[in-house]
């Protein structure tokens, strides 16, 4: 059995769904962030698979996107962790269920 585009896409979508599940269900803010990271990497995997297995006039477009996503994700993690620490300092918890300030 050869491993082709289809298998990579299956792995990518499974990873995405797991990440989504984590992001929506974890009560710990750090856990939610980890879920988001998993989803980002699932997308990265999908992009790279398309870049590797399809003919294109711009063969490295997928790679370029992935490099950008990694960079932006790093920045996002830095900001998000800073926010999490700030929230913890103010509320002494990182439980997202407690953060219902938007509800009047």
């Amino acid at each position: 059995m050869t491993i082709g585009l289809e298998e990579f896409l299956i792995v990518g979508s499974l990873l995405f769904c797991m990440g989504l599940l984590i992001a929506l269900s974890k009560r710990n803010a750090i856990g939610v962030l980890i879920g988001v990271e998993v989803m980002l990497n699932a997308v990265n995997l999908t992009l790279l698979s398309f870049a590797r297995f399809t003919e294109s006039a711009q063969p490295i477009a997928g790679h370029t996107f992935v490099v950008f996503v990694i960079t932006v994700a790093a920045a996002e993690v830095a900001v998000a962790l800073a926010l999490a620490i700030l929230i913890y300092r103010n509320r002494e918890t990182v439980d997202v269920d407690q953060f219902t300030l938007l509800r009047s």
Binding site: L24, S25, V32, R103
Partner: protein, 654 residues
Amino acid sequence: MPLFLAEMLEVGVPTIDEWVVWAILAAPVVSWLLIIAYLRKLPAIAGYATILAVGVSTVLSFVVLFNVIDATGGPVVFSYEWFTAGSVVVNFGARVDGLTAVMLVVVSSVSFLVQIFSQGYMAGDKGYGRYYAHMSLFTASMLGLVLADNLLMLFVFWELVGLSSYLLIGFWFHKPSAAAAAKKAFIVTRIGDLGLLAALLLIWARGGTFQIDEIHQLAITGALSSTVITWFALGVFAGAAGKSAQFPLHVWLPDAMEGPTPVSALIHAATMVAAGVYLVGRFFPVFEASADAQTVVSWVGAITAVVAATIAIVQTDLKRVLAYSTISQLGYMMLALGLLGYVAAIFHLFTHAFFKALLFLGSGSVNHSTNTFDMRQMGGLYKLMPITFATFLIGSLSLAGIFPLAGFWSKDEILHDAWGHDRVLWAIALGVAFMTALYMFRAIFLTFFGEYKGGQPVDHHDEESHFHGDPAHPHESGWVMTIPLIILAVPAIGAGVFNMAGITDGLARLLTGALPVPDLHEVSFDWWVAGSSTVVAVSGIAIAWAIYYRRVVESSALRDAFYPLAVVFERKYFLDNLYEDFIARTVLQRWWNRLLELFDTYVVDGAVNGSATVTREVSARLRVVQNGQVQAYGLLLVAGVIIIVAAVFTANPL
């Protein structure tokens, strides 16, 4: 004068300077603007400004009349485009023909004399400046009404006339009865005006024009179906019936006597109430084309004449006798118009304007020295007020139709037309002529003969009253009031010369010249008709003399003898009860308002409350979704995306 007119007829060249026509209208407009802007606090000048302006209009009206006589009544039109609405061009223009010229002279000259009389009658009134402002506005509107060359412009001035009438009836608005009378006049005439508005819209929709001569042509050529013509004619007549106080819309005119007496003389006797007759005369070719409309007009006129004359017999207020007399005479004119007696009707309008204005001013003169209009408080005034008595007698004889006064010739012509067309209507008209003589001389004997009964004592606590004399010792009014009476007595005697049956036909030529198909009205003299009308008039006077002077029979005994009938007359055929108690109070205030209340409770409030309830219920169920948890929002977002993706793929399968 007849020979002079006949010579003028031969010339036949219309030469009217345009500025003359517009100046007639502009002069009172200018005085009105000046008074409301600057002169309200300067009453002396306000009075003279109005008299001067109306004087200018009067002189120019005579200039126009003589020029139109040159043109044998043919129309001259000065018209400018006012605005365009779709395919209809509406003009602002003046149409001068025989009918217009006659009306111009009547309106401006009677107005002129009334303004002079008012100087004496209104002297010392707090609203003197305001009075003259309203009078100027009225005169301007009335002149505009008769000059208008199209129906829309006519309608505008028609409503302005109604407005100024309202302002003047309610002139002493601090009296509740005057305020109520003004409202009543405005509302009742508005019911008729609705008909005129409907006619206006109908001719606009079907005929596509407002120009009077084009409407004439539409009627003559039969370009419009007879149904449309009939409805148009009936709509116009409804407007005329409101303004000219025809049954059953006549109820406002007697109440309008709450206004100052010169106002009653000018507006509610001589000019404005004649506007309805003028309107029907203006659209005479349309009425000629519709037999149904003619029947309606003549019978409404006949009913009005009888109803008003019978009520006039039992009135105790001098001014109300004259008011019902006016309604009755207007009914006479309508009766004539319905029988195609166009010349007869306008001729009667012409003579009636003078002698009825004279009678009203005479009653004002009496009021000025006795402080009352109640004939039961008068009597014996002929010695004390000889000029007023003499002129009042002349007016009454003219109104009663006694040879050779003006009223004889015009009333005779109406009777002659009725005799030729419809004997039933002729008999009714003859009966009304009898009653006219009876009630007028009843009024004369009660007012001027017998013992003086003291008038109405002056109420010195009433600060609004401007009465200065001593009612216990009545005296003749000043020159400023008697001179207009004397001047008006001249046409009341002699205005018949313009159209003596079988002798002169100057007015008939002038009036028929205004019609699109000039058809010279044959004026013939019928001894039988003239004789019968004279006999009934003299017998009416004789009966009044017997009852109210010689007291052969006590009037109270007569009242008992005809008890049910007398009550019907005294209660004015219960029409006021029908309108006020039944229609206004019961139907409108009770039933209709109850209906509106239900509508308000269940439909209006229901819609408002219902929408509030729906919003509240829906939001109560949606509120749980907004719980403030980011993860819940994210879940909904994903669910939304899934639904959209599923929908897209279902619609476009791969």
